[in-house]
Symmetry: C2
């Protein structure tokens, strides 16, 4: 980055908010995937040339104007929790790259309590949003595992889905409006809760991962803080019967707020960790349910009947309560595991109910086969944590004893898994998004015509290609 | 259309399916708005040069190839029920225009009973779809007023919303996959019920009204045919209290399958027609509720409590049952009214709960003021028939005694209403779509950046501009 670049960005946001310290640059050098954690252990690593911190929409606009004029790549950065390489300091064809940290765009911009809508600045984190809303007795109710750090704008940009999705929906469905600064103009969308005024352009920006513009405000649906919360755990003889239980619950509607099924491998480990449950339960699969909101007794009665009919047995409140306590902790254990020589990573997909078992087997086979080819043993766990009337997600955690070069060992395994997901009819990501890690597989999911649509929007909104080069649309595509 | 054009299209679909008879051309000369009905009374009218009837996706593909090669405009045509001028035989810059009638693309292509998904050919009508599904004990449950004629592809292309939307959602939310033939390539989307694999490109085609491609198949969520149906009607002292009742029901969730509130003017006319209700009820506003599916008693108890708390009084099952019997009849009365010298048209919008009364007043004022300026008296009725947690739709019916040139009288009134909707923060259409009638107002809803996104997709997929010229994106835009 040149002195002139620095001066121009300083003019846009104030000199105090163009940070070129090593610490800031390293902290913005990537996300939180296991490869990110491993790369951060290396002495040499890529980092953005500066971290730029605008305070509001107009300063974002000013930063983009500078970046276009001077040919600087811009990586929008919210909570920094991407696990798909969406935050890599990739400069593309440009001479410099900055991380555009949006954390100063924080706060409740507007609240309409009658309509149940809140406008939140994009850099507001999950806990900040809930604190602001709780002062009005309201809740957003979006709790992905990244909740502690991730931002409202990031949830929108990555099409996040939270642990309460069975009751509150994925983040996509919570968004009723959006404000975006693109390199060639601003846009504000969302006049009404339902519309037939052409295609829903909000959906162009949900999942755009910063390649079309920088989301600066998001309008979301909010609801009263639930007064009650009821837990119930269930055990099933196997994964198949557990899936059947979840399918019945999903297709009946108005079920629990949280529902998740852990397969045999995950059940055994989780219950062993908790250390409270005997061997009988640990042998099958387990389901956690949490009910919040209206009509809990009636919902629980109906859901229980469906789960029992599918072969489930209620196992009390304990395991569900334990799950809730530790539900955001998983990702933070990986560093300790890596220290102990254990490689640990997660990945996820989704498909129809009919295809769920086929897809699960394909991914498990690819994971185990991949590590086996690298001479490593692996332990694969799977859970279903997002259900829909027509299908569900699959979330995998893999542990492997990889002695040397875990990064090098993982890359071909991950590629093998992505190939398997595509071949088995799954989506390349249910809620982690595309980033750079999944970008090479996207064309197999949406086809060449789909890639051409994305590229056409990209060319129109960001003709200089400054925004997040190589995320979603691979750099080598020359549309 | 030249003889060569005719021969090329005949080669694509077979000579029997290129229809140049006057009757076919007149029947495909427009949609079903009141201006359409009036225009069809004139001796001179525009009509497409031919009606082309492909039988399946590959024939649609072949037709588009011919149209691109020979410079023929193509108007995709499903049930022909557009009320926004989406079917006008507009040739744009091309020497000929054909109506691409999709009714032969009919039937159930695939059914996955476990996942609750059906793939329907785009030209399948509402009643055909329900008949095909009912053989398997299943239902789609999408009942817009156009149900008798409109097609699955049309529902998708126009972002339809049906009378059961409170329970079954708008058509947007029922779609889980789509297959489209564009002039520059095919696309098939929808690998999973939820995804974060980039922006949801299905949403680019929902609401695209045939300007990006021709939808040939739609995958939809289906559910078991409800075993029970319960009706209940309510009366409220006024519109404000009725809206408050609907808001509580929408925000609580899991309410009735159908809910609609008629204002004082509509209540008086409807009840007078039915002829069964005394003066007391006819003086306020009325709400129809219908419950289908699971847990009716419990849902009805909760909903009743909310409606009563807002000032409602139950008025038995009668009016709701009467509404159901006549619910698709409204549009077919307009011709008789026109014969009697009464102009009758409908229009609709939506906004947040907070803004609903303001928007209603603005539209009513524009309608009455507009007709008054034309020296005509008018009667305006309004109902709310699609509710969301954050807002609702408003549907207006206007009757006016216009003696001469009703078409000429209506045009400035409609423009005044559209201006009023934009100024009052509503959407230019909640479920009728854009077509050519609303296209000049779309840029005020989605902004210049929004129009540029639509134009960029259009240029990419249809560089020759053969598809439905002037619909959604006004012809005069030269992006």
């Amino acid at each position: 980055m040149t002195a002139e670049d620095h001066a121009a960005l300083s003019a846009a946001v104030g000199p105090a908010h163009v940070d070129v310290t090593t610490e800031a640059r390293i902290r913005h050098a990537g996300g939180r995937s296991t490869p990110d954690l491993l790369r951060r252990r290396e002495p040499d690593q890529d980092a953005p040339d500066a971290v730029v911190r605008p305070a509001h929409h107009d300063e974002v606009r000013a930063c983009l104007d500078v970046a276009v004029a001077r040919g600087i790549a811009v990586i929008p950065f919210g909570g920094g929790t991407s696990v798909v390489g969406a935050l890599d300091p990739e400069r593309g064809a440009h001479h410099a790259v900055v991380s555009l940290d949006l954390r100063r765009l924080s706060g409740l911009v507007r609240l309409d309590e009658v309509s149940g809508e809140a406008v939140l600045a994009a850099g507001t984190t999950g806990p900040e949003a809930e604190a602001l809303l709780s002062a009005h007795g309201l809740e957003l109710g979006h709790f992905p595992q990244s909740f502690r750090y991730a931002t409202i704008g990031g949830f929108a940009a990555a099409r996040s889905s939270g642990q309460n999705s069975a009751g509150n929906g994925r983040f996509d469905t919570m968004v009723t409006g959006i404000r975006v600064a693109t390199p060639t103009g601003d846009i504000e969308l969302g006049r009404s809760p339902g519309s037939a005024a052409g295609p829903d352009l909000i959906r162009v920006f949900l999942g755009s991962e910063g390649i079309f513009g920088v989301i600066t405000e998001v309008r979301v649906r909010v609801h009263p803080i639930p007064r009650e919360r009821v837990f119930e755990s269930w055990s099933f003889p196997d994964f198949t019967s557990g899936v059947e239980g979840l399918r019945r619950v999903a297709q009946q509607g108005n079920g629990p707020t949280v529902i998740r099924l852990s397969d045999e491998a995950e059940t055994a480990v989780s219950l062993a960790q908790v250390g409270k449950i005997g061997k009988v339960l640990a042998k099958g699969t387990s389901v956690v349910t949490v009910y919040e909101g209206e009509g809990i007794d009636e919902r629980r009665t109906r859901v229980s009947a469906h789960l029992a009919a599918a072969g489930g047995t209620s196992s009390g409140t304990g395991p569900a309560e334990d799950w809730l306590k530790g539900r955001f902790d998983g990702p933070y254990l990986r560093d300790s595991l890596l220290d102990a020589g254990v490689f640990c990573e997660t990945l996820e997909t989704a498909t129809t109910w009919t295809n769920l078992q086929t897809l699960r087997s394909a991914v498990e086979t690819a994971l185990k086969g991949g590590f086996s080819a690298a001479g490593a043993k692996s332990y694969v766990m799977c859970h279903v944590s997002h259900i829909y009337p027509t299908g569900a997600s699959l979330y995998f955690t893999v542990l492997a004893g990889v002695r040397a070069d875990p990064l090098g060992a993982w890359e071909p395994v991950k590629a093998r898994v992505n190939d398997a997901i595509i071949a088995a009819g799954g989506t390349i990501s249910h809620h982690h998004a595309v980033g750079r890690d999944h970008a090479p597989w996207l064309s197999q999911e949406i086809g060449e015509t789909g890639m051409r649509i994305l590229s056409a929007i990209k060319r129109e909104l960001d003709p200089a290609g400054i925004l997040n080069p190589g995320a979603v649309i691979p750099l080598e595509r020359n549309d």
